[in-house]
Symmetry: D2
Subunit: 270 residues, 4 copies
Amino acid sequence: MGNGKKGSKSDRPISKQQYNDTLEQLQVELNNLARWVRYYNKRVLVLFEGRDTAGKGGVINAISECLSPRQCRVVALTKPTEVEKGQWYFQRYVEHLPEAGSITLMDRSWYNRAGVEKVMGYCSDDEYKRFMKQAPVFERLLVDDGIMLFKYWLTVDQSEQEKRFAERLEDPLKRWKLSPIDLEARQRYAAYGEARDAMLKVTHTAYAPWTLVDFNSQHLGRLTLIRHLLDRVPDFQVPAESLVFPPLDRKAAKEKFETALKPIKPIKLA
Amino acid sequence: MGNGKKGSKSDRPISKQQYNDTLEQLQVELNNLARWVRYYNKRVLVLFEGRDTAGKGGVINAISECLSPRQCRVVALTKPTEVEKGQWYFQRYVEHLPEAGSITLMDRSWYNRAGVEKVMGYCSDDEYKRFMKQAPVFERLLVDDGIMLFKYWLTVDQSEQEKRFAERLEDPLKRWKLSPIDLEARQRYAAYGEARDAMLKVTHTAYAPWTLVDFNSQHLGRLTLIRHLLDRVPDFQVPAESLVFPPLDRKAAKEKFETALKPIKPIKLA
Amino acid sequence: MGNGKKGSKSDRPISKQQYNDTLEQLQVELNNLARWVRYYNKRVLVLFEGRDTAGKGGVINAISECLSPRQCRVVALTKPTEVEKGQWYFQRYVEHLPEAGSITLMDRSWYNRAGVEKVMGYCSDDEYKRFMKQAPVFERLLVDDGIMLFKYWLTVDQSEQEKRFAERLEDPLKRWKLSPIDLEARQRYAAYGEARDAMLKVTHTAYAPWTLVDFNSQHLGRLTLIRHLLDRVPDFQVPAESLVFPPLDRKAAKEKFETALKPIKPIKLA
Amino acid sequence: MGNGKKGSKSDRPISKQQYNDTLEQLQVELNNLARWVRYYNKRVLVLFEGRDTAGKGGVINAISECLSPRQCRVVALTKPTEVEKGQWYFQRYVEHLPEAGSITLMDRSWYNRAGVEKVMGYCSDDEYKRFMKQAPVFERLLVDDGIMLFKYWLTVDQSEQEKRFAERLEDPLKRWKLSPIDLEARQRYAAYGEARDAMLKVTHTAYAPWTLVDFNSQHLGRLTLIRHLLDRVPDFQVPAESLVFPPLDRKAAKEKFETALKPIKPIKLA
């Protein structure tokens, strides 16, 4: 299935069984974390950055699929409109900051400017410099306001990236992840690395540190990242609300349909 | 894992293998559909309604996980704020209608008013009646504007629902799906059915018909729903853009880290 | 002063004194209306349409200047962005519908499509026809939801319009109101009238009627429109909250400035 | 008329004639400024703060009434919703920052926290302290991004303030400006002054300085403030686009009405 759920073909350091079992345990903890977030009206913001094919979408799905979509939101902005281009650079992201009791996962973020925009020349030098100056200041404001901000950068070697590009070309479920821009990006693997290091130098701060996670194995990368995220939050135990379901006081009903509309026939399996 | 990915324990009409294979084929078609949507700037809006535990979240994930989060958005609104309560009822939903080239999946929708609000007495009789009058008119406006609107209602018998409530109580990954309100909802299984039928009577229209899908088996329900959705859209083939990845003109690079920051150690597996 | 406050030079059917005295009385009533709106959580929406130079801005100012900007909002949208162009036509207006207890004045509105867009060819024939079909339906939804919707169309003869165009060219305070598009619009005076009549035919409804007001005199037009608006709302008396200001229990203080910052010197008058 | 247009009764240092003539000249300059803003895609943000009755609304109207409502927006936020209270404090203001080519006038602003909220105890001590730390940092981000930020604080002595409270009680056009909270505010005149000074100490910065303007005379205060604002912007001359209106090539038309709908009868003047 798409969005990296299967991991890539070369994903062999751990068995599928190990992956599933460990992920399930981590997802239980994520649920505890989410309950704690709700109970104490915390706000959690997690940024996911990294190379093309590194596996941002996959790890985001692994987190969000086990949480309430009403509490945990995935934000994946498209390119800015003309009006947005004329605004304060951070404005369109501010709109999506987590509200009290909620968790926001950003699939790419304001760091576009220090990565793809820098490397591909989509922003001016002034814009780039201003971003590098403003990002840590902006993040400081959020953190001091009580937003719990976590920043992950997913690394992957080029040989692995090449395999994944090849898979994406072949696999119709991954084809949407490819665009002509990727052709260019491959040629600039080193430049992306340099841009990342320049970015880390100024935006890796005490209050909003970066965490680099090796995603040469997507399965191992996902587990590693989620484990790390959980360990960043101290002691998030809130007991689940006690609920007692008494026995039904009548016979369990079947669906009845008073209108002519009935459930459609099930799919015919091959 | 949560959000119904595993389906429920009683989910046995098809094998896991059958489910995975068929889902993968459907997801390939969903990707073709998405490419067509983008190519022709179509707008697709799918509403998911149904009983508690029926499996809305699970089928939404099965669709969204294989598509670009920049194109396919899941909208799961929380309860309205005081300001929103004073607005035109449909206003807060209008904001999330799909834009050109995109797909929006609504996990619950404006039909809250005809379901939970009606049954639990959260809206006045006037508000309910007005909704029943306005919903088909509102939807007509959207459809005539070119929005492709699909409405699914997921059915499940009470015996199955009871099993799932019990699983949710026990399974820490499903515990978030339970709330005290569910206790009340169980007692009103029949009332929910009646509310649904009343709603179908006036909102099942030629231009925006409802489709009922049996989710007593979540796996079969998901496949059935997705197959149906795909069949509603005529002939959505757009060839994938041709891309050629020439061989790299240099040796594949490894990640190099110029700052002290290195990838963290991988998780220790048990 | 700009925005028609002075009215136009040819504005002579009533004396300035008469205008000011009558407007002041009407503004007292507008304040009573606004108090009633707040008290009963009503929602008032007034659309202002009409020919270029007719005086929309002037009458909107005459209303809004005497009310709280926190209660009475003026909405004057600019042209749609690319994203907005791909949305349901009414979507960007829905966002600005009045909330409970408030009044919204729209300087132009969704009727752009039946006026300037139709006459100047900015929309397709299909879009125009769809608008003509949808507008009355959309407005019905709003009105049935309890929004008090008033629609005014300001008329002006071409000889008067010509004078005002000439004034706008000369008067630096009115110069911003002119654009090259006005040159074209003058030539199409008749076409605009026909477009208006076509629009009236289908959108003048029992629940959301149009009111035409002669603005060949802007002063008289403003008073006439406001009087009419007030008469549309039955009996909006709510006594002002009683407030007693006891004498200060100390000597009235003077501003004191503890920092070096002091009020700047007053302007030097010529 | 309301919103301080007449100024207060005690407003006698300059004649009405002087006021009108000078204001008109300033408004011409404001129009030039606005053209420059549009031409160069500048963004102008003006904050208006000050004591109750000082005259924020009046000076805002004097500026906005002569400019295009599509370019110059007045932002007067109501109190935050529950959701907004759980967000980053500045978030709801960020949404209203000026876009390219536009001017935003804020009638009160984020400085609420350092004024009324501090004095009346509406925020916690922590929130207050955090605001005092964040405000200058936040403003620096905006200014460095190119937003032209101007901050005005309107001063008024208590004896004058008392007169205006009395007028507001009596004048039905000003009655909406009074609320029970004003009763309390009168008693805390000194505390408001101290809060202002504390605020000036940390938020009067080189890049975003405050300007204090004496509004004991509202007319003089308005002219002084607008003159100052204009002087802050260097050399904003952009010639108005040249437009030539050729003579109409036909006889000026009169409004003709094809439907039964005709302009309503003009108001009967007393």
